[in-house]
Amino acid sequence: MGHHHNTEPRVISRREMLGLSAGGFGSLALMSLFGTMPLGCKRPGALESASNLYLGPHYLPKAKNVIFLYMDGGVSQVDSFDPKPRLAKENGEDPRKKFKVDATQFDNVGKILKSPWDFKQYGECGMPVSDLFPHIATCVDDIALIRSMVSNFPEHTNANYFLHTGSGLQGRPSMGAWMNYGLGSENKNIPGYVVLDGGLVPPGGLDNFKNGFLPASYQASVFKAGPEPVANINPREGVKNLQEEKLQFIKQLDHSLIGKIGEADAVESAISNYELAYKMQSSIPELTEFKEETEATKKLYGMDSDDPNLRGYASQCILARRLIERGVRFVELTCPNVGPGVDRWDQHSNLKKGHEKNAHAVDQPIAGLLKDLKSRGLLEETLVVWTGEFGRTPFAQGSDGRDHNPSAFSMWMAGAGVKGGTIFGKTDEYGYRVIENEVTVHDLHATIMHLLGIDHKQLTFRFGGRDMRLTDVHGNVVKDILT
């Protein structure tokens, strides 16, 4: 199709392509090959082809990395960061007499339910935080709180997909995949998008972390605690150096194959991938053993706690820091399983017990992470995001639970480019609906991308006849919370 090549916006030599595909995770070194390319040069009507390659930020980024603390199941905003005294006043009254109640997923609308926790003001900014999070409360001057989040979906799975991929349906690329597609990874030996599985894979499954229509190299690598942190990362050869010898042998034969077939980029890339895989075998275990971490650091995160869930989450938070130190672009932490009897943050009943167990497990490690990042100067270049997929109702489900509420929830960000001590957006007196400065999930994505130096409207991938975006056709950067 020669005539078409002439209309391609740029020509990448086959050697460059080879280097690119062998990059595995995409690397800065390779990006520089295209560094002179004007951004946004991909044409809206460009034909579907390898020209979907996209590399490099659009403008100077504030953040280099993202740590995404996912609060699976939906934290109650009125019990955490959005105090509503009126709930106490009207505790036990019929909500339907107060305001219009939307259909909920469990359709078991109880009475107005006051928060079982007290709120206190913290920091110089005086941000109120409930007693659920005494440790995070000590970091409020670094936190920009958004109280006006909304989601499009009241069901977990749709809302999870939406939060992670910008679409409520299965099959779209996750934001971590988009960031790596846009920016590449800075470390050739570790994947650029890592999910630290703390015990709970969110409803919707691993598809929350997939590459969708982007090439598979952008999907998340899932790390788990234990002897094999990444699938197939441990050599199976019992004898020392045996694997190296085998790989040498394989390499020799592979190279003679190239001699037989002439130039074959794909084969050459596959050969160089073995070297990368080999290096990962040592770089990953090195990461997950905390040999260099001091006792003081471990203690800061809560590694000395009696609560095994807290210890587990603490070690994930330490690992997250270690990953971003090594240039991993996007790290997501899933929640620990604090059961029995408690299913993630999803307290349809027994709110007090459930939220307390969850909060206890994550509060100190998160505060430890923020403090540790700050003391190492890493918070300036790392964006920490804390959010669930939706909020919960201010009225009870049954007598002591709360149902899903996509019409209002609280989330916060801290770190690179974020104005600490800010509160943005407002809900009504019940914390049921947003009444000021609504922020959508698309806006959140646009803002995260903005901080990474990406214009969310420019980062596109042609699929199924459309230039797809993480933010679809929506999204506005929430400028008010940015420095």
Binding site: M1, G171, A231, V239, L253, G262, N273
Partner: protein, 1006 residues
């Protein structure tokens, strides 16, 4: 930034004037010096003699102009459209014309594209779009040559002048192009490479060494053709090509979302595909079975079992994701239908119709109205369990039972003929329809008369009429106990038989739906917006189990869904976690169904609401009141009660009924009642248009304007228009898919997109030749594959010179055969085959997914499947949406959510890690070493050669033998350092085999 600017800013007109002069000068310069004066490398290729609209001009327009001047009026600027001849040559409202054919100097387009003023130039700088000099020159020359407009190439019906039977046709076209491009073709591949290539591409498996030997020693002139036929006729062929198809229809065995519920019987569709490819079912039939297999007047039967195959094809509609308890059930339907439209149009037409959901397509002439015409077709299609074991025999048996029932009525009527006159004056009062208009209820169906009151009886159980007047006979004595009252009964034919009685669509306007029914292990369900995954939370109340021997009022509170479309479904059997189960003793009977507010309408019990047709005594087609009187008289002894002859009739009927029992179901579809959908503004159902779009095909294609007349969905008509001989896409899209699978790249590279944004065909003449041939020669996939793989083009070596590689780096012109990585399935199946542990058993329930520690989350099966998948081929491994096999996805098997005609071929370290460290690969290496030990091969060399023949279908070279022996030596030294190993020899061979699996030659087709 637009055309209109000229006139908005009069001061710029002057600039325009000057730039026009500049344009003219430029044209003169170009004319005088020729194109070589341009330094751009893009200009190195001369402009074509004749500039073709489709191949040269339109790509430029699509990329640069159509966002603002394309088919979508909502984003059109300056009222100018450049996607039609009329639009492009129409008078601009400010005067002048964008394009004046033959007159470049009068064409504003030329002026604007050559303009250097940033405020004037097209496309505007802020779009980041810029035409190259060559593009401008092409547009200019095309206008100069008369600006000939053509339909999009793929919408023009394919034609060919080449004889369809010409065995050299493919090579002729390919080589003509090679000559044009000055590329020299390479020699044919050697026999070892060829057999490996043909075997893998046709069957997905490596050739076994015996086959290799046979082929090598077969010196006949047709040795290769024999080989091709052998693989085409191998059962493994169907397994390979079925999997290709499964990528198109997002094949999965669970519904994903929160709990990953099973799609009952999905694997039967997989088996259907394997059989269809192996039997070479003509593609037109195959397409019809997919689109409307449930509606075909004659069905295709399985040759062995006699079971109807056709209906299984429609299972592909059901393969989508399924939402757990969606709060907005209407949105859920819109999403589901969008996915059905997306998959159907991409798969069969290579068009991305889903892009027109929110607005007219930005690039293709597909309107939002087209999308909603198809939306109606899908909305009128309902879901149902479908018995997977129905053949002609069962249909005959069901018919026979109905005949027997009718015969029994006639027999009784005949015997009582003399009493007939006693009933002529029966009071009809009870039989009069009650006007329910003013009541607080609406009768949705009343089955106490002779018919089903307009409801659909699906399956066999309910038969075609109510039970009214059916003789009830004591089987022991043959005594007639009475005539049956009117009701819809799934026992009318027999117990444990599948059937469903479903109402027409209603709009819910009252608080309650009520059904008077009795039964056992059966269900009544309210289906709102075709939503099937009924359960708590939210939906638990609209699926009621029926387990009562007495007439009971079943009440459904539907007040939450007022205004929604719904239907009532009455069926024997129950859903358990969305799996439909039909027990032997399951039956259900119903008298009437109603919607109402407030209290249950008790007056209905006495008042029938259906008008009955005239009585017909001879067949006991009589009114309910007559039945009552007769039963009274019978009790009083006024009528003769003994009918011993009915005993044998009943006996035959019951025997026949046994044969109708079904335990094998698939989640399938059946045809509902035709619904025309409005257009949803910006894709939002809450903003429907006034106008409803009649169901029809895509307006840009032939017959796209003819409205479907069917009272149902219109899918049969949809299949027919796709197969209309004037349809330009159906055949082209399929032959291109086949070419893609054989060469790794389609003639049209974007195999699922033949629209304006798709790639142009590299060899249009070839594509059309193959499309016409396919269509005219009976739509035989095997014949087409045979024609392609027996061409010299297919048989060429992969070895090429650097010069050739540089001249055609992407191998568009096929001077050599492309090196290809094997697909995920072929890699895994290849390992199993080479280690001799492949179990070639075909068909059946899937092998459970092997669960690793990394595969967690809701819906995780309680038990992991075996590591080696029982040694079965990958196509038989379970596809659980939320627990996809890591090896498959890592090697690029697509995530099943949309159509993927072309897989990505990525290159990531996790692939290397699998081959290096995955326990399955290590296990298979060990097995292979074990098999090697059993072969009784003596020398080292012999063993290595055995392995090479197994793995690479060739012998090792002396250099490779030397390398192997060095490797062993090195291993021995290493092992000696370790403490003595009892089974050392075997261990060493295991390491060697494991290394073999890691060679690139193993996962690439060389």
């Amino acid at each position: 930034m637009l055309w209109i600017r000229i006139f908005e800013f009069p001061s710029k007109i002057l600039t325009m004037f000057f730039s026009r002069i500049k344009v003219l000068i430029l044209i003169c310069v170009l004319g005088g010096l020729g194109i070589s004066c341009d330094r751009s490398p893009q200009f190195s290729e001369p402009l074509p003699k004749v500039v073709d609209f489709n191949f040269h001009v339109k790509p430029i327009l699509v990329q640069n102009c159509y966002l603002c001047h394309g088919p979508d009026p909502s984003s059109r600027k300056a009222e100018l459209r450049l996607d039609t001849y009329e639009g492009a040559t129409a008078a601009l409202k400010e005067g002048g014309h964008a394009i004046v054919p033959g007159k470049t100097s009068k064409s504003h387009m030329v002026q604007r594209i050559y303009n250097e003023d940033p405020g004037m130039v097209m496309p505007p700088p802020e779009t980041n779009l810029k035409l190259t000099e060559r593009e401008k020159a092409l547009l200019n020359k095309w206008i100069d040559q008369g600006a000939e407009w053509k339909d999009h190439w793929s919408f023009i019906k394919p034609e060919t002048k080449i004889a369809l039977s010409d065995p050299k046709a493919i090579d002729f076209i390919i080589e003509k192009k090679l000559d044009e491009k000055g590329l020299e073709k390479v020699p044919l591949a050697n026999k070892n490479s060829l057999i490996r290539r043909v075997s893998y591409l046709l069957t997905g498996l490596p050739p076994n060494p015996k086959e290799v030997q046979e082929f090598l020693s077969d010196t006949s002139s047709v040795a290769y053709e024999k080989l091709v036929d052998r693989y085409l006729n191998s059962p493994a062929y169907g397994e390979r090509w079925a999997r290709h198809w499964m990528d198109l229809v997002r094949y999965a065995e669970t519904k994903g979302h929160e709990f990953d519920y099973a799609i009952t019987g999905a694997w039967k569709y997989r088996d259907y595909l394997i059989r269809a490819f192996n039997e070479d079912v003509p593609y037109d039939q195959f397409l019809k079975e997919h689109i409307a297999g449930d509606l075909l007047p004659t069905t295709r039967e399985n040759k062995e079992t006699g079971v109807s195959e056709s209906r299984l094809g429609t299972t592909f509609y059901v393969m989508g994701e399924g939402t757990h308890s969606p709060v907005d059930v209407r949105q859920d339907e819109a999403d589901r239908i969008d996915n059905m439209i997306d998959v159907t149009t991409k798969t069969f037409q290579g068009l991305t119709v889903s892009c027109a959901k929110c607005h007219d397509h930005k690039f293709d002439p597909i309107t939002a109205a087209d999308y909603y015409a198809l939306y109606g077709v899908m909305e009128s299609t309902r879901f149902s369990p479908v018995p997977a074991d129905v053949g002609k025999d069962k249909k005959l048996a069901a018919k026979e039972i109905e005949n027997l029932n009718s015969y029994m009525r006639k027999l009784v009527a005949g015997k009582w003929d003399t009493a007939k006159s006693n009933y002529e004056n029966t009071d009809y009062a009870q039989n009069t329809a009650v006007n329910t208009n003013e009541k607080a209820y609406t009768v949705i169906g009343d089955f106490r008369g002779r018919d089903f009151d307009g409801w659909t009886s699906d399956g066999f159980a309910f038969g075609q009429r109510s039970t009214l007047g059916n003789p009830i006979v004591d089987m022991a004595t043959g005594k007639l106990l009475g005539l049956d009252e009117g009701k819809a009964s799934s026992r009318a034919i027999g117990m444990g038989i599948f059937g469903a009685l479903r109402s027409p669509n209603i709009i819910l306007d009252k608080d309650f739906v009520g059904v008077r029914a009795l039964g056992n292990n059966s269900s009544i369900r309210i289906i709102i917006d075709n939503f099937q995954l009924i359960q708590n939370p939210i939906y638990g109340g609209i699926d009621k189990k029926v387990n009562t021997g007495e007439w009971n009022n079943f009440v459904f509170n539907v007040s939450a869904w007022k205004g929604r479309k719904a239907y009532i479904e009455i069926l024997p059997g129950v859903y358990e976690r969305h799996k439909y189960n039909l027990q032997e003793d399951a039956f259900i009977e119903a008298q009437y169904a109603v919607t109402y507010d407030g209290e249950w309408p008790s007056d209905l019990e006495k008042n029938f609401t259906t008008q009955q047709p005239q009585d017909n005594w001879a067949s006991l087609e009589i009114s309910p009141s007559k039945v009552t009187r007769i039963n009274n008289d019978l009790k009083k002894g006024k009528l003769p009660p003994h009918f011993p002859e009915l005993k044998s009739v009943l006996d035959s009927s019951q025997q026949l009924a046994k044969s109708l029992k079904t335990e094998s179901f698939v989640n399938g579809i059946y045809d509902g009642y035709g619904i025309d959908s409005p257009v949803f503004n910006r894709g939002n159902y809450k903003e429907p248009s006034e106008e409803h779009i009649p169901r029809r095909f895509l307006s840009v294609l032939s017959l796209g304007d003819s409205v479907f007349k069917s009272e149902g969905s219109g899918r049969m008509e949809l299949a027919e228009v796709m197969l209309n001989e004037d349809n330009p896409l159906t055949s082209r899209v399929m032959v291109n898919r086949i070419w893609h699978h054989l060469f790794g790249r389609g003639i049209v590279e974007t195999v699922d997109n033949f629209g304006l944004q798709g790639k142009l065909p590299s060899h249009p003449e070839l594509l059309d030749y193959l499309a016409v041939k396919f269509q005219k020669e009976g739509w035989s996939v095997k014949k087409l594959i045979r024609a392609i793989v027996t061409s010299e083009t297919f048989k060429r070596s992969t070895l090429k010179s650097d010069a050739l590689a540089n001249a055609d780096p992407n191998n568009i012109y096929l001077a050599y055969f492309p090196v290809r990585r094997l697909e995920a399935e072929a890699i895994r199946d290849g390992i199993l085959a080479v280690s001799e542990s492949l179990d070639s058993t075909m068909y059946g329930t899937p092998v459970a997914t092997h669960l690793t520690a990394f595969m967690q989350g809701r819906g995780r099966p309680g038990k992991s499947g075996p590591l080696n998948g029982e040694g079965r081929r990958s196509i038989y491994m379970e596809v659980r949406r939320n627990f996809l096999e890591p090896m498959m996805t890592t090697f690029d098997r697509p995530i099943p959510f949309s159509t993927f005609g072309s897989r990505n071929v990525t290159n990531v370290p996790s692939q290397s890690l699998i081959l290096m460290n995955d326990p399955l690969v290590a296990q298979q290496a060990e097995i292979m070493a074990g098999k090697l030990m059993e072969k009784g091969l003596v020398g080292f060399e012999e063993k290595v050669q055995w392995i090479y023949m197994q793995a690479f279908s060739r012998l090792a070279s002396s250099k490779e033998l030397k390398k192997a022996s060095d490797f062993f030596e090195m291993l021995r030294t290493m092992e000696e350092k370790e403490a003595g190993n009892e089974n050392q020899e075997m261990e060493l061979w295991k390491e060697y085999c494991h290394s073999i699996f890691n060679l690139k030659e193993f996962i690439y087709l060389i």
